[in-house]
Symmetry: C2
Subunit: 133 residues, 2 copies
Amino acid sequence: MQRYFTITQLTQEFDITTRTLRFYEAQGLVTPQRRGRQRLYTPGDRTRIKLILRGKRLGFSLAEINEMIGMYGSAPGEIGQLRLLMDKIQARRDELLEKQRDIELTLLELDEVETGAKSRMVELVASGVSESV
Amino acid sequence: MQRYFTITQLTQEFDITTRTLRFYEAQGLVTPQRRGRQRLYTPGDRTRIKLILRGKRLGFSLAEINEMIGMYGSAPGEIGQLRLLMDKIQARRDELLEKQRDIELTLLELDEVETGAKSRMVELVASGVSESV
DNA sequence: AGATGTATTGACTTTAACGTAAAAAGACGA
DNA sequence: TCGTCTTTTTACGTTAAAGTCAATACATCT
């Protein structure tokens, strides 16, 4: 018993437009089945869409995302190909680790700005500005 | 004694083009001084550029980056403005935390793929394919 | 059958973030 | 002073990732 999703269900769930999903399909990122002309998305398709959106949030291009998703089901039968795959994995991992460091730094800086803003606020309130916090 | 950087020094250090730096300037992201027509970047400008590139790596748009950088030197004198600033900070923080989770998940998936690839490799080698590892 | 609402397709447009090319202006060494 | 090099400015081109619009098709309700 396969459960299907319609395109609008998915657009609502992920807060994207139909145009977006059709565009992803045109790019070969998802290939939903058809009932007549209507698109039917399987749970697998839905998962792929989730992966795409996650990749987007991390700043990857659709081409990169396509490549990454391509890694999942593959497991090629040739040693050379396997080596290539593992190289790609390592490259992605390095990128992600860099992003992690970038995030840490940015979070720290946000903390600093917030600290400054807070103390500035205390100053203002103490200096007699009537304001209910 | 102010030390200045030329545009090409910075392009080499950060591996970007002059076009990129001039574009950032046109967008108001950096405003180097001039000696005649030549651009002179201060250490502060250099830091801003680093922040811009970091933001880009995290998938933020130049407009978002501009806003974030704008938070740094500000500390506005009005309570309402301070509240707004703190709201923005929190929003950014939430985004960054989401990106962190996204990265964790992606790293885990990469691990899985790699594990699969490794065992597949062992299989291949064991099944008699001559290959020096 | 007619009206209404949702899907699809195709074409054209838009936006961000640069790339590329051409012309002119200094800067510098021989 | 000449030639070379770098830098600047201006203008047009490009790419990715959709947005927008119009025409058509399907399905459903009345």
